[in-house]
Symmetry: C2
Subunit: 428 residues, 2 copies
């Protein structure tokens, strides 16, 4: 970085800064001599341009026993698309991905998808029943589950409708709306396989129905192989109890699978010998193919990626050096590789995978980027550990036709305009 | 687990539950048939004992654009010890460790330690100056830093006074107060080494002074080897911007080192050829040894551990099978091994390290535990990757005397009483 320092706008500012430093240095030295100065001793030698917060006492601990963000960050919130749903009760809100760093999504910013609003469940009254083709049906309290062996994993959670507006050509000029039904948290709970071993699964068992306690009683059929693999009955998210809008007090997490299979407010697990074909796996969450057939039980969230900087909400502000960033994820395992194109997919540069690269988790990637101020078509293309390569729109349409809403994982394009504006375009 | 199921209270409840299942099953089947029922159609065949939240619509998305915990978890907050400090402005609040899962501490629950309260900093006005023995002194804006190459790491943060009340025999019957100046977050920012390379460090440079913008202008001298290793200038914590009480908008993180060296509200970095011996590294944050000398620049938070269940806030409720849990950490690297004793250190059992085991991060450990209802003296003892073994009180006192406040990492003991109460005792 230092060797190429001349290219940096930061470096261009140096002369200005060097000239200004005498003054600034004097200011700071004066301030240091007045450590713990409060407004009361302003008559001492505090320089007049020292910020208010450096010459006063602030509020103390427990101002917020449960903390809150700075008032200067109040724009970092979930948002919805008003025309997308008839009301907010059966609706969606989106994670502000452009504002986030690293791979953890804070609980307060995890996207929402409700079918009958957010139930206000008393955990003392809540129960989980496990029955059907099992030897010893049982009803668990939360305390029962909390004393069993626990597992914690960092995994992404994504609604399969993420990108659905893109399929239908309603192209939103905001990363929050093109990819914001996406999050990544540390989930803690009990492996479903532990519960199933506890009750004794019968030989003919092949599926597990998971049902929620909300007014919609949302239910999904889960194949036994997933139930016995990494499916998790979770009670905690990023260290603290689940949030109400994320399924409090109990939720199923099927790592790497459609968010709607990760049934919230979980009240019932029924073991059976066939899938149930309930409403949310027939009328919804199926993909209508070109030949009129419906692709059903399309569980896995396939390998996908998106550039998070630059994006419509975070355009570059001037020519010069930046760190391009993005997120990649795959429901099949780890991200192996991400490439970035600045010319709409003609040439590609290998991105750097940053920090932790975990299976079925968001993986952040970056690339040193020197913007010349000109236009560009910026894309990212991820490859997962199975060798699956994120498809183009043409490839995805060949496989899925034109009528799908779910599982849009085609390579996404940001159009960077001369001057720095970023908009959303679709390139085949 | 299934093989030993007879020991589980859950299993003991089975007969009761099996008898009750016909009723419960009927109830649930009725409820499922009435999916999306609202209060309006209660005249249909909804069973009367179906919880209210399963027969009504809840509030929709964006009820809280920035989410909040369930009202049933309002007891999970930071707390202080009123007699510990004269006021709340220069004081401490503690993380509720007994209520947390996994290794991530949610931002709202990260302990607080302020010397002059929480400054309310406008990020647009905030600057970081880097000067002293450098070729090109510079002042950074937040935007400057955000466009530079970023790094994200999950690391623990601990105040060296954590356990200080234990040293002085004020033994609190609460995990929140014995060990709650401890947290673990994903931090994102720019490596300090990147900034130092940018400005060109001069040959005689050996230390870096970090100074905060709060009223106390808290400052610490950091040796150049740490500055050039993993010290990070962070602007984000668990994905979102730093919280005000954690240093918003900019903080130094020295992974594995004393929390007070991780200067909050960072405004100035000065490169020098010697340490500054400022107030917080002379009057405070030194350890008075038995021979009257003071141990200074005691940066590393040494290998430590504590059992988080059972603990005073979370005692066992009845005889039977539990998962004992705890946290271990070391400022020198990864946790290699944790052993647990139930008899005050006579016999030890190897614990299981759960989930991610990361350097300088909290590591959660567990042990299957069958409580016979009798008394026990429960301890954990951690070993880190360097082979350092967490000491006994006797060993720690031999090294540090009786007057220390900081760096108490002696093996901790919970006394489990017959009947299940848990209290805090000190065993040599």
């Amino acid at each position: 970085m230092a060797a190429e320092g001349q290219k940096l706008p930061i470096a261009e500012r140096r002369n200005f800064l060097k000239n200004g430093l005498m003054l600034a240095g004097g200011m700071l030295a004066g301030a240091a001599a007045n450590a713990q100065a409060s407004d009361k001793n302003l008559s001492l030698n505090l320089p007049p341009n020292l910020p208010k917060w450096s010459r006063s006492l602030g509020p103390g601990v427990l101002t917020n026993p449960y903390g809150k963000p700075s008032r200067f960050e109040s724009h970092i919130v979930r948002r919805n698309v008003p025309w997308l749903t008839a009301d907010r009760i059966a609706s969606i809100s989106f994670t502000p991905l452009a504002e986030l760093s690293g791979i953890i999504t804070p609980n307060s910013l995890v996207f929402e998808r409700h079918h009958a609003g957010i139930p206000d469940i008393d955990p003392e009254q809540h129960r989980l029943m496990l029955h059907g083709l099992v030897d010893r049906p049982i009803i668990f309290t939360l305390d029962d589950l909390r004393r069993m062996p626990s597992t914690s994993v960092i995994r992404f959670l994504e609604c399969p409708a993420n990108g659905g507006m893109e399929w239908r050509a309603a192209q939103m000029d905001a990363l929050q709306f093109t990819h914001g039904m996406l999050s990544c948290c540390e989930w803690t709970g009990v492996l479903l396989s532990t519960l199933l071993q506890e009750v004794g699964v019968q030989e003919s068992a092949a599926w597990v129905l998971a049902e929620g306690a909300d007014g919609a009683h949302l239910s999904r059929s889960i194949p036994m192989h997933k139930a016995m693999d990494d499916a998790l009955i979770v009670y905690a998210q990023n260290g603290e109890p689940l949030r109400p809008e994320q399924g409090y007090p109990l939720r199923l997490i099927n790592p790497g699978w459609e968010g709607n299979t990760c049934v919230k407010w979980l009240r019932r697990l029924e073991v059976g010998d066939a899938a149930w074909y309930h409403r949310e796996e027939t009328a919804k969450y199926t993909d209508l193919l070109a030949d009129g057939r419906a692709r059903k039980f399309s569980f896995v969230q396939e390998c996908n990626s998106v550039v998070t900087f630059p994006c419509p909400e975070k355009p570059p502000t001037e020519k010069g050096r930046y760190e391009l960033q993005g997120l990649a994820w795959s429901g099949r395992g780890k991200i192996k590789q991400v490439d970035v194109s600045f010319d709409g997919g003609v040439n590609w540069r290998r991105a750097h995978l940053k920090g932790l690269v975990l299976a079925k988790a968001l993986t952040r990637f970056s690339l040193d980027w020197d913007w010349d101020g000109g236009p560009a078509l910026i894309q990212s293309r991820a490859v997962d550990q199975t060798g699956y390569v994120q498809p183009t729109y043409t490839q995805l349409r060949e496989a899925r036709g034109l009528s799908s809403i779910y599982h849009k994982n085609a390579i996404h394009t940001w159009r960077l305009h001369e001057g720095g504006k970023v908009t959303n375009v679709q390139i085949s």
